[in-house]
């Protein structure tokens, strides 16, 4: 916080520099979760030990900008964009992350899905700051993240696909399939239809899942190209899970 500073035309200046607040740049690990301050840089997250199960987040961060920009960009900034969901959001949505929100009434933890409006668009609460992000220390057997549509950095309104799955004794126990751009696309009924299925999934089942994903994406206003890519990405992930390629 600055006090007594004045701008060039002598107006008082008030800047709250969040980088100066230790709590916001702290990284805290426990057996159950990893907690990141909202101002933890993306490169700091990349430098965390590989033993921490951080995919698809880690892989997603690698696809963002360049190394030098990642030394400045923060996880909080990436998650709280107002116009569209950025890459880290889709990964964290897959990982069942929670966020700590603070306003005048105090602090509370909420699932990251609370930052999604009913229309599927970003809905960051007003007069609130996000202070921490908590990622459960859950092991995912399969995780992936990729951009949808053109592989273009700096593309206005990029979209990304994140997926994570847990398999036990050849059965899908948990599954997350998320696309995020201007809107979030997540079809829990599709996920549930695949949870409990034994691997290998039949090509017909995968094809059905691909089609359902694309339809859902179009309904959620993803453009046609990205919607189809989302479907393809879902199919590719399902094939990857059983050690096959398309």
């Amino acid at each position: 916080m600055t006090k007594g500073d004045r701008s060039g035309d002598d107006r008082p200046v008030s800047i709250l520099d969040l980088h100066g607040i230790p709590e916001l740049t702290a990284v805290h690990r426990s057996d159950r979760f990893l907690e990141l301050g909202a101002c933890v840089t993306l490169s700091t997250i990349l430098s965390l030990p590989d033993s921490l199960a951080l995919d698809p987040l880690r892989e997603g961060i690698r696809s963002i900008a360049t190394a030098s920009v990642r030394n400045l960009a923060t996880i909080g900034g990436n998650v709280s964009a107002h116009d569209f969901f950025m890459t880290c959001f889709s990964a964290l949505a897959c990982m069942d992350a929670a966020v700590e929100l603070r306003d005048t009434t105090g602090a509370r933890w909420a699932g990251i899905h609370t930052l999604i409006g009913e229309d599927g668009r970003p809905a960051f609460p007003v007069s609130t700051i996000m202070t921490r992000i908590r990622i459960p220390s859950l092991h995912w057997d399969f995780a992936t993240i990729r951009r949808l549509g053109e592989q273009t950095r700096g593309e206005p309104c990029p979209a990304s696909f994140s997926a994570a799955a847990r398999v036990e004794k050849g059965t899908i126990m948990e599954l997350r399939l998320v696309a995020a751009g201007r809107t979030i696309v997540r079809d829990r009924s599709l996920e549930l239809s695949l949870i409990g299925q034994r691997l290998p999934l039949t090509p017909k089942l995968i094809e059905t899942a691909e089609a359902a994903a694309s339809v859902m994406a179009r309904e959620r206003e993803l453009d046609a190209v990205r919607a189809d890519r989302y479907g393809s990405a879902v199919a590719a992930f399902l094939y990857d899970m059983q050690g096959q390629s398309r």
Partner: protein, 688 residues
């Protein structure tokens, strides 16, 4: 008069120009693409600030670029969005920019014309044609006919420093700092604008960096602006465009549409080739004549064909002026002819390399109205290239994959593509309106050699090659050779630095000058100065094929498609080059490798859509520049011979996009006839 030019000699980059006493110059631009200027409203400017309009120009209000008149500041009408209408100069950059933002150009707008696919004759600015034989009859009798339309979109040069210029008086002379390929054009343009003799203007070249021919003539316009500010305000002036301004308003690669029709006999030999190539030159259309001529000269590639009709047309539109890009039009044409070659081979189920081999022009073949003295070295180059890349085996394997999968979306695609082409000799450019390009060498009494040319290579390695070559020819120590910094008051006009003129023309002039010194040095007293100029080709001399002194190369690109989104993953690039004697193998290899990496980036991501009008600021964010991690392995091989060194600076830009497109076409099982390739572009065969 005072000197304000102190210290200008030591400035390497325009962005380092000392700003203590200087004025910043900002540009007030038209916000519309076409119309008559009704009014220009400028904000009230404080002391030490002033505006400059066309009415303030003391000399010519236009500058000449290869026969086209480019307004220095718009007067009466505007022809593209962003056209400079006025300048604002002042000591504080942010205040200048504020004043520019507050200025308004009101136009009585007229309907802009952006399209070059349909146009009326009033927009036709240059044409070039060649015709041999009876094409229509040959096509009618052909056993196979293949046709295709090929497009190349505009692209940005993205040189390392945006365009700019600085100007300051050094007593009675105006010194201009310019990052330019053509310093003498800057000089003549500035002198014209100020209404003074060219001797009163000195142009010093600053660092150019890799320019891809984007700094050929546009720096002269910027220099005129800086010069006007310096002259009218009596202080040094600096104009440096922002990256956004540069991207939006300076020259881009001229987009092109090439429509080809090829007739073949039963064996697949070309019997007829018919091409109509239209290029969008934007507003004012400078260099249109040069570009259409080079297009015609390249339109048949290295192939033999008895009946040829090529019609190249340059069209003016209300987009910012388009221009040269690594070869003045030859790259897009090579893309077209090499895609056509692939289609021709495909139509008769022939191997693409075998097709090229039977169609490569041989000794005595008429190419563009002149008989070749030597065969095109296709087999020699292909022999090495195909082995190095393993093209035949990979192509066969990928063809099996392509044919066996039920549909392209069901299995990832693999592709390997071949392209073959040339870089024409320099020598047809740069004679316009100026003396013959010249080089001057002086051998002093203490056995030191001074080389003077306005076309100094930007590469230190290339400079060392010149010095080494000169030192060797005269038996001097390497460190006894110096190359004068390019400054128009101390070096002769060697023409623009483009089209490998450095190796094709300036090197030869340098060699000839050193030869002259060798014969005179022991007969005449030192110091001795020799000046050599390029003579114009005699009008009575027999016409020579533009392919005669060309360098030749082949390129292979191998790729596979991402199984999810179909985007290309490049597995390797191979190039085999035959360009005469190689002065430095390390430098030449590095050049080709560098150019291939840049050319690949230009093929995949650097997309700029101007089909519906000029670019906006979102366009620069969408313009994807490649990064190190995306560069595949690039393998380069040279086949040397004892002919004189030839230029290689266009070869990769000409051939890599074509080879890439051929590989993508195989992988997608669908033709890729537009560059750059966009994964999101609706394409048949993209995995869904």
């Amino acid at each position: 008069m005072k000197s304000h030019a102190h210290g200008m000699r030591d400035i390497a980059r325009l962005s380092d120009f000392p700003v203590a006493d200087a004025l910043y110059v900002g540009t007030v631009r038209s916000a519309s693409s076409s119309g008559t200027i009704v009014s220009l409203s400028l904000p009230h400017l404080p002391r030490d600030y002033r505006s400059i309009t066309a009415d303030d120009i003391p000399g010519s209000r236009t500058m000449s670029v290869s026969g086209a008149d480019v307004p220095i500041l718009a007067s009466g009408s505007v022809e593209y969005r962003g056209q400079p209408v006025a300048l604002i100069a002042g000591p504080d950059r942010s205040k200048v920019m504020e004043a520019v933002a507050m200025s308004r150009v009101r136009l009585e707008e007229t309907e802009p014309a952006y399209s070059f696919e349909s146009f009326d004759s009033s927009r036709l600015v240059a044409t070039a044609d060649v015709e041999t034989g009876d094409v229509d009859a040959a096509v009618a009798q052909a056993h196979h006919v293949v046709a295709g339309d090929y497009r190349f979109c505009p692209q940005d040069h993205y040189y390392p420093e945006p365009q700019g210029s600085a100007a300051a008086f050094d007593y009675d002379k105006l010194v201009i700092l310019s990052s330019t390929q053509w310093p003498f054009h800057v000089r003549s343009s500035v002198a014209g604008a100020l209404g003074v003799s060219p001797d009163e203007v000195i142009v010093r070249s600053t660092l150019l960096g890799p320019h891809l021919d984007g700094k050929l003539w546009y720096p002269s316009l910027i220099a005129c602006h800086a010069a006007l500010a310096a002259r009218l305000c009596g202080r040094p002036a600096l104009m440096l465009l922002s990256r956004v301004e540069d991207f939006l308003y300076t020259t881009k690669r001229a987009p092109m549409i090439a429509s080809y029709r090829a007739g073949m006999d039963e064996a697949g030999r070309l019997v007829a080739l018919d091409a109509r190539i239209v290029v969008n030159m934007g507003a004012h259309a400078p260099l249109a004549a040069e570009i259409v001529q080079r297009i015609v000269a390249s339109a048949v590639g290295g192939y033999s064909c008895p009946a040829v009709r090529v019609n190249a047309i340059a069209v003016r539109t209300n987009l910012p002026p388009m221009g040269a890009f690594a070869g003045l039009g030859t790259g897009p044409v090579a893309f077209a002819i090499e895609r056509l070659a692939e289609s021709c081979a495909g139509s008769i189920d022939a191997d693409p390399s075998a097709w090229r081999s039977i169609n490569a022009a041989g000794k005595g073949d008429l190419t563009l109205k002149a008989a070749l003295k030597r065969s095109i070295p296709y087999d020699l180059i292909a022999g090495n290239l195909l082995v190095a890349s393993d093209y035949p085996r990979k192509r066969s394997s990928f063809e099996v994959i392509r044919k066996r999968r039920p549909d392209p979306s069901s299995a990832p695609g693999f592709g390997i593509g071949l392209a073959f082409g040339h870089q024409a000799a320099a020598g047809t450019f740069g004679r316009i309106g100026s003396d013959a390009p010249s080089v001057e060498v002086t051998l002093s009494k203490d056995s030191r050699l001074l080389i003077k040319t306005s076309s100094v290579p930007s590469s230190r390695a290339a400079l060392e090659i010149w010095k080494g070559s000169a030192a060797l020819s005269l038996g001097l120590r390497h460190d006894a050779v110096r190359i004068e910094t390019s400054c128009t008051d101390s070096v002769p006009d060697s023409g623009p630095e483009t089209l490998s003129r450095n190796i094709g023309i300036v090197s030869h002039l340098l060699e000839a000058a050193c030869e002259g010194l060798r014969t005179k040095r022991f007969r005449e007293a030192l110091p001795i100065t020799i000046r050599k100029s390029q003579r114009a080709r005699s009008r009575t001399a027999a016409p020579e094929s533009p392919l005669e002194e060309a360098s030749w190369a082949g390129a292979v690109v191998e790729l596979q498609l991402d199984p999810v989104d179909g985007s290309p993953i490049i597995r390797g690039i191979w190039m085999t080059v035959r360009a005469g004697r190689i002065l430095s193998m390390a430098e030449a290899t590095r050049t080709i490798e560098h150019d291939a990496a840049v050319a690949l980036g230009l093929s995949i991501g650097e997309y700029l859509d101007l089909s519906h009008g000029p670019a906006d600021e979102d366009s620069i964010r969408r313009y994807r520049l490649p990064r190190y991690g995306e560069t595949p392995p690039i393998h380069v091989e040279f086949l040397e011979d004892e002919t004189s060194p030839k230029g290689i600076g266009e070869l990769a830009y000409t051939l890599v996009p074509a080879a890439f497109a051929n590989a993508m076409s195989q992988a997608l099982d669908a033709p890729v006839n537009e560059m750059p390739y966009r994964a999101s572009q609706p394409q048949e065969g993209v995995p869904r």
